[in-house]
């Protein structure tokens, strides 16, 4: 299915004594297909071979994917559980000793029980992530509510996809990251891409994106930096960080002014147009230019190119979402598609570039403080009843909603939360305002961390559990398109490491909840219960069996039953998921970033990724090729700004904000605004840019404003650096 012009029948190279295991990359939401090369004598993964038969990425991979296999048998793998008795060593790698699983489990069960006896059920918390299978994400939600019985569970999607989720839920009534399959992207006529450094963060989208231009279509890129995709774009809107909503309103205003709206679509399938029209009146090209720093004629041109296009796709990513108005930015840009009716048909729609491998699936099934499987709400009694039936508990046993990821650290600091089970995430690098977050982690009475390397966050743990990498377990992941795909197991777990679902089953037994967990003996058992738990929800996976996924090259949710082939295109019937079937055009008053530049902090600091690293870098910094290509962070500065501060290329300088400081090498480039500096966020300890970022949260998504705060640069004496 969906085999397009990029698809070619190619036989793989089969080396003697090897077999190929079909799977997908462990990292970003593209979930590029790949084959892992396994030596059949040692049964170890030894390399990678392109997967030409995967319809989305046809063999292509970025350097992270090419080297991903090197994670599995890496020398840094944790092989046994670790225990540390000396709490004064928290925050360091010191003091750990190896232990048996039994000893580790016993200790965890004892500490958890003691804490809950003394301080109540909700003294424990779970902080999880979405770089793992749906099965694990699902079971983590169940484990927190049923085995630990706590309300406090949340996950790293709050630093990643939660604004997209909030925006889509408000605009469409449903949160599927892309309304259309990626195999449509190259066939559209205009791509409007905001806040996505696509060439570095989702590189394997690029062959489709460039093809739009080769066909004579247009690419519009919104970014404070001239990223590789902005460099070749037909139009680059170089806005000030944190001003997206003004631009979105300005473009919607021009779409209306220039007559590109689709009145029939607006009347029949949307609400809120009149109100929005009224609100955006103020956002003339001149006023929008004043707020965003983009030339007025560029704003008009963008509206023309998008408005005139027979088909167009609005795309965005963390650049617009990681703001304290991220949800408004998402709905604001989505308005462009809704007023022009460029949605609900092939080759037109709205998509966010999902950051983490399972950023889509992982946010749908109950790791979020207020959600249950199938995108059900924990505040909806009917939803709770449905899930309780599958879980074998009574609705009274279901905990209340908790708080968002960052807010959990606040509760740790004030001792409302005293215990933490952390898995699949590295908040000691990735959370904003690190000085505070690290202090909160240190304050905990007891912390368990499950990971396959000793991450910066594991350094705060009392017990570290060795988890497996993606290649040592199986399950499903939901990719950038909303397509459920299958991750396959290529080798047995290294050392004594175990998959997180197994750890949770065994821990649940120790916590006296065996009845609800002991029947889960394999990833497939979890998958079957998981599908059942989603049945009837908005994100319905019930019909997406592993067999169907393999046979169809993935299944797009919703997929309700055996006969349902899934839903590659959303809203083809022009029915949206709000009760009245209409989409919502949102009138969104503009607000500037939470922290605006001032005399003391005159620069705008923005953060992001480089192509060689993934998230906190806990995985990619250990891979030799990726490390060599980008061994340390840097601060990108425009040459005129550098000259003002009398700074040279590669000089080490001090960058600071109201919250923290760090020393970085200057990277001079004209490909950034003069008022903006950029630092990649993949580095830990004193290199972490999140020592400087601000924890201003979006009121709906609780997403911190990673993308804009006020900063200052300063020269340092070389002595000080040493």
């Amino acid at each position: 299915m969906q085999r397009d012009k990029f698809f070619k029948e190619i036989e793989n190279l089969n080396h003697p004594n090897e077999k190929l295991i079909k799977t997908h990359c462990s990292y970003c939401g593209m979930q590029c297909g790949m084959n892992l090369r396994v030596n059949i004598q040692t049964n170890k993964i030894i390399g990678v071979e392109p997967r030409y038969d995967w319809p989305v990425t046809v063999g292509k991979m970025c350097p992270k994917g090419v080297t991903a296999y090197q994670q599995t048998n890496h020398k840094d793998r944790l092989l046994k559980p670790l225990i540390r008795e000396d709490a004064s060593l928290k925050g360091t790698t010191e003091g750990f000793r190896e232990a048996s699983w039994d000893e580790a489990y016993d200790l965890i069960a004892k500490k958890f029980t003691e804490l809950q006896t003394e301080y109540g059920k909700d003294t424990l918390s779970v902080f999880s992530g979405v770089s793992m299978t749906n099965e694990k994400c699902y079971l983590t939600g169940k484990f927190a509510r049923v085995a630990m019985g706590t309300r406090y569970i949340d996950y790293n999607g709050r630093f990643c996809m939660s604004s997209a989720a909030g925006g889509f839920l408000r605009s469409f009534g449903v949160d599927r990251g892309s309304t259309l399959p990626w195999t449509d992207i190259h066939e559209t006529d205009c791509l409007f891409i905001a806040g996505s450094n696509t060439a570095e963060c989702h590189p394997t989208s690029m062959f489709r994106i460039w093809n739009v231009q080769e066909r004579g279509g247009y690419i519009i890129v919104v970014d404070p930096r001239e990223t590789p995709i902005a460099r070749r774009a037909d139009l680059h809107l170089d806005l000030q960080p944190g001003t997206d909503l003004a631009l979105a309103n300005g473009i919607v205003n021009q779409l209306i002014e220039l007559g590109y709206i689709d009145e029939e679509f607006i009347n029949n399938h949307t609400d809120g147009f009149e109100e929005t029209k009224e609100l955006v009146k103020e956002f003339t090209p001149e006023y929008t230019s004043m707020l965003t720093g983009i030339a007025p004629e560029k704003i008009i041109r963008a509206a023309e190119l998008y408005g005139k296009a027979p088909n167009a796709v609005v795309m965005f990513a963390r650049g617009v979402e990681q703001q304290h108005k991220g949800v408004d930015n998402v709905s604001g840009y989505t308005n462009m598609a809704l007023v022009t009716g460029k949605i609900g048909r092939p080759k037109s729609g709205v998509a966010t570039f999902t950051g983490q491998g399972n950023g889509q699936g992982g946010r749908e099934h109950g790791q979020k403080s207020d959600l249950l499987p199938g995108y059900r709400k924990i505040t909806n009694p009917q939803h709770v009843k449905e899930v309780c039936q599958v879980w074998g508990i009574t609705p009274e046993e279901m905990p209340q909603p908790g708080v968002s990821a960052y807010e959990m650290f606040e509760l740790m600091e004030e001792k409302t939360i005293r215990g933490l089970y952390l898995l699949c995430s590295n908040p000691a690098v990735s959370a904003p305002n690190q000085n505070f977050v690290r202090k909160a982690l240190k304050t905990l009475d007891f912390m368990v961390c499950s990971d396959f390397y000793l991450s910066e966050s594991a350094e705060f743990a009392d017990v570290v559990l060795p988890a497996v990498t993606w290649s040592e377990d199986e399950g499903t992941v939901t990719n950038i398109e909303g397509r459920i795909i299958k991750i396959n197991k290529a080798q047995e777990p290294v050392g004594e490491s175990k998959p997180d679902w197994q750890i949770q089953v065994e821990l649940a037994e120790r916590l006296g909840r065996g009845k609800q967990f002991s029947h889960l003996k394999s990833a497939r058992d979890v998958a079957d219960e998981f599908r059942l738990a989603t049945k009837g929800g908005n994100a319905d996976y019930y019909g997406a069996t592993w067999d169907k996924i393999e046979k169809q090259d993935g299944v797009f949710w919703p997929c309700k039953d055996e006969n349902d082939q899934g839903t590659p295109h959303m809203f083809l019937d022009k029915k949206f998921y709000h009760p009245d079937g209409k989409a919502k055009i949102c009138a969104l008053p503009y607000r500037p970033p939470a922290e605006e530049p001032c005399e003391k902090y005159p620069l705008r600091l923005t953060t992001g990724r480089v192509v060689y690293h993934y998230l906190s870098g806990n995985q990619t910094r250990r891979i030799p090729f990726l490390h060599d290509m980008c061994p340390e962070p840097f601060v990108e500065v425009h040459p005129e700004t550098a000259a003002k501060y009398n700074m040279e290329h590669e000089e080490r300088v001090r960058l600071f904000t109201r919250r923290g400081e760090a020393i970085y090498k200057v990277k001079i480039t004209e490909a950034i605004r003069k008022d903006t500096v950029f630092v990649p966020y993949h580095f830990g300890h004193e290199d972490s840019i999140n020592l400087l970022t601000i924890a201003a949260l979006d009121p709906i998504s609780r997403m911190p404003e990673f993308k804009a705060c006020a900063a200052q640069l300063e020269k340092v004496e070389m002595k000080k650096v040493q």
Binding site: F207, W210, F625, H649
Partner: protein, 186 residues
Amino acid sequence: MKKRLYLELENCIGCRSCLAACTQCGGHEERNRNYVYDVNPLVNRQTMPLMCLHCENPACARSCPAQAIQIHETGAVLSALVEKCIGCQNCTIACPYGIPKFDTEQNLMYKCDLCIDRTKDGIPPMCASVCPSNTLQWLTDEEIENKKKQFNLDNGKWVTSMPYLEGETNVKVNLPGILQGITKLY
């Protein structure tokens, strides 16, 4: 059907996946054999790969006093034969594009062999398999002809070929600028 490596430099996004992939071809001892350059590092993010062009009459092989550089029947100009290479480095100087790399420890030249283990059986080379931007492609002559037409290249202006190169090459290259001749859809 014979296929060739085809480069469209306009597309390069500098991800260096081609370098990473080059180390992954079974016979490559995990060393990469091509280059990716930042064209104008302090100014913009333009990058381009620099690949062996597999010359029809390769200067590297001609310059080799020990006949260590063999030409495969597919036209691929192979890496130096371990038993023949004397480490004189003539080839690194002779190649007009500075392609051959030198391993001082082994006293041995190594270069792109067009992933001969793959391409002899019609499997695309590793770099062209993974390149996310389609800068590197593995195409039939017919497909390359179509590219010429599509990009209005019949004037030869954008395509690197004679007289712009030292000699005819098996690898075909399009310099940046391919979009200039495109008619916009609207």
